[in-house]
């Protein structure tokens, strides 16, 4: 996935159908509905919940996050940078003899190497989060729906985009209504 700063996503023309939004009031109905949407073959859809939900990744068919690789990469760069930095500054560029200590020694280099490993690994984790979540993305068509404000409070939602190849204005709506949704709403951007 390529990262580009998407402060405002590319919106379809004014008044065009963006997608449908279904509201659920329990975790269980949501999970069952999410699995139905996945099985129906949709790809441009999402679930919106106030809390992380166990089993949702499987129900939605989300592939494992690649972020751990970024963390590993960050950590490896940090460790290498720590060692090279200490060797290059104190033993190579300006050999600095103090208290008869060796110019470079692994044991004495461990604290700084360790801290830089942790620092870059953590920065890798957070950078990964920004990249894969597409942050910052300050506006989204969903924010214009009044009921969606409760997605960060006490309600669960499924949104399906009209841009999805499987999307059909009536059938998709029926499917969501049938899946135990409390309410289904069309979204016009």
């Amino acid at each position: 996935m390529r990262w580009k700063p998407r402060l405002v996503p590319e919106l379809p023309d004014e008044g065009q159908l963006w997608g449908v939004l279904a509201e659920y009031d329990t975790v269980d109905t949501l999970l069952v509905a999410a699995e139905k949407v996945r099985e129906a073959g949709f790809s441009r859809w999402d679930v919106h919940t106030p809390i992380p939900i166990h089993g949702l990744d499987e129900a939605m068919g989300i592939r494992p996050s690649p972020i751990p690789w970024l963390v590993l990469g960050g950590g490896a760069i940090g460790a290498a940078a720590g060692l090279v930095l200490q060797w290059a500054t104190n033993a190579f560029d300006y050999p600095f003899l103090i208290s008869g200590k060796p110019l470079f020694g692994l044991p004495v280099a461990i604290p700084v190497t360790f801290e830089l490993t942790i620092l870059l690994a953590s920065l890798g984790a957070v950078a990964g989060l920004f990249i894969f979540c597409g942050w910052p993305q300050l506006h989204h068509p969903l924010f214009s729906v009044a009921r969606f404000l409760r997605a960060s409070n006490d309600r669960y939602f499924i949104s399906i985009e009209a841009a999805d190849p499987c999307f059909d204005e009536m059938k998709t709506r029926w499917m969501l209504e049938d899946s135990g949704a409390k309410a289904v709403e069309e979204l016009r951007a």
Partner: protein, 485 residues
């Protein structure tokens, strides 16, 4: 509000104690926590804030006085080159460690009760580390040269000396600050989104909107988010242990009797967690009463913290005893002298204050009634705060004032600047803390919700990974046609 449970401290092995009381649902929990930020500023907040702001003004005034006059305004001199400044530094860094323990280590151990207090404790960590960082910065004497501590190519063509623990400290504490800040902020994003969605004014909407980065509670975002949270917890855990170990190397790597011991790293880490939990209790007990959050930060939470204070207090007590034993067992006359001098010499008053506050006071927590009485908890926690400050003072000052050569012995007396700078650092800490409580979600709503029965985790039937068989209200046999292309 269904069944009102008032006490969740009972131990019943067959039943999980509820962590949120008062019949809260997601809706009421959001209301309760957001109300702290959304209601008009209470007068009590203004009073507390003005006092802390005045105190932190004093802090910066004294730092300014120090910079323009010179380090001599403090009472330290050779041989006591470190005194209040480094004591305060170690004290404040140590306070921070409880926040990381609660947010990272207890997370890895699946201690669900941490959710009610972790955000607050993480905030406390950040502010304590800010206070801590001021002291070594200023103690260099000429803080405008502090960039020498960083490996920045400069006009002297010289580099910092990486074989000194003081430089390790620069890396350890700045990494600790950065990672704690990231962890705190990442944890706060869903709750900032809640505040954004509830915002009534344009300004709030825009500010919370910017800082919540466009969070939509999306299942795909939660997936990455949870993974990052776990990874940050796993990275912060060894980090927090390393930071206070590195701080202890400042002492242990030197050759001074009383400092040159291998017990220092674990002893410092245990002491940091001990002191940090005491600070969490000191702050949370009044704040919980003030904001009326008894149902979220319950008696059980306080009791659990009291147990950790007792356990880490015993570790610290063990370290004190072991230091004495090793001083005797080593057969080294200088070591022996330092420890006899600590207990019976000119700073005996500080040593026995430390023992009384850190070893004796927490013994109250062996008793249920001690752990369940908020006032008793607060008093003991306050004593531990005092005791932990004195621990660092005793370690630093007794060893420096009486080392190998009696002709260079000294007795350190703090000046008024020393004392008021210490008081002022509390002003800075409390100012930041009050701003945090007023403007940010100081209790982790999304995390607390996820340990409530409504999240579906406590249903009779277990829902593991990938399996779910909860209640389905509208089960239809019909195939869904909506999705076929």
């Amino acid at each position: 509000m269904a069944t009102e449970i008032l006490d969740n401290t009972a131990e019943d092995p067959g039943r999980r104690a509820p962590l949120v009381l008062g019949g809260h649902t997601f809706t009421t929990l959001t209301e309760t926590v957001c109300e702290v930020v959304e209601r008009p500023t209470p007068r009590a907040w203004w009073v507390a804030f003005s006092l802390s702001l005045a105190l932190s003004g004093l802090f910066f005034a004294l730092l300014g006085y120090l910079v323009v006059t010179g380090i001599g305004v403090w009472g330290l001199n050779i041989p006591t080159a470190w005194a209040f400044d480094i004591t305060n530094f170690v004290f404040w860094v140590g306070i921070g460690h409880a926040g990381t323990l609660i947010s990272a280590i207890l997370f890895l151990f699946r201690q669900k009760w941490r959710t009610a207090i972790n955000r607050f404790a993480e905030g406390m960590t950040i502010f304590a580390v800010v206070c801590a960082l001021v002291f070594p910065t200023i103690h260099t004497g000429r803080p405008w040269f502090d960039y020498w501590l960083m490996p920045i190519p400069n006009q002297m063509k010289m580099w910092p000396q990486f074989r000194s623990p003081l430089l390790w400290d620069v890396f350890a504490v700045s990494t600790y600050f950065t990672v704690s800040l990231l962890f705190w902020y990442v944890g706060m994003i869903p709750d900032l989104a809640t505040l954004r969605d509830r915002a009534k004014t344009r300004l709030r909407k825009v500010l919370y909107g910017i800082f919540s980065l466009g969070w939509r509670g999306s299942g795909r975002q939660w997936h990455h988010y949870e993974r990052v949270y776990l990874l940050l917890a796993a990275l912060a855990t060894p980090l927090v242990l390393s930071v206070h170990s590195v701080v202890s190397f400042d002492f242990a790597v030197s050759q001074l009797p009383g400092w040159h011991t291998t017990i220092f790293p674990p002893y410092f880490v245990a002491g940091a967690i001990f002191g940090g939990f005491a600070m969490v209790l000191t702050l949370l007990i009044p704040i919980r009463a003030w904001l009326g959050l008894h149902h979220i930060v319950t008696a059980r939470h306080l009791e659990n913290m009291a147990k950790i204070v007792l356990a880490t207090g015993m570790m610290v007590g063990y370290a004190y005893a072991m230091e004495l034993f090793i001083a005797w067992y080593s057969g080294n006359p200088y070591e022996r002298f330092v420890f006899i001098n600590r207990a019976l010499g000119p700073y005996a008053w500080a040593y026995w204050t430390m023992i009384g506050c850190n070893v004796l006071a927490p013994q109250l927590f062996w008793f249920e009634r001690g752990r369940r009485n908020p006032l008793a908890l607060w008093v003991v926690a306050m004593l531990v705060n005092v005791g932990m400050w004195f621990e660092r003072f005793v370690i630093i000052v007794t060893s420096l004032t009486r080392d190998f050569l009696p002709s260079s012995w000294d007795y350190f007396r703090p000046t008024w600047v020393d004392l008021l700078t210490l008081a002022g650092s509390f002003g800075l800490f409390l100012t930041l803390l009050l701003l945090f409580i007023r403007f940010l979600p100081s209790f982790a709503m999304a995390e607390v919700k996820s340990v409530m029965p409504e999240a579906g985790l406590e249903h009779g039937r277990h829902r593991g990974h990938g399996q779910y068989w909860g209640e389905i209200p509208h089960q239809h046999d019909r195939q869904f046609e909506g999705g076929t292309p």
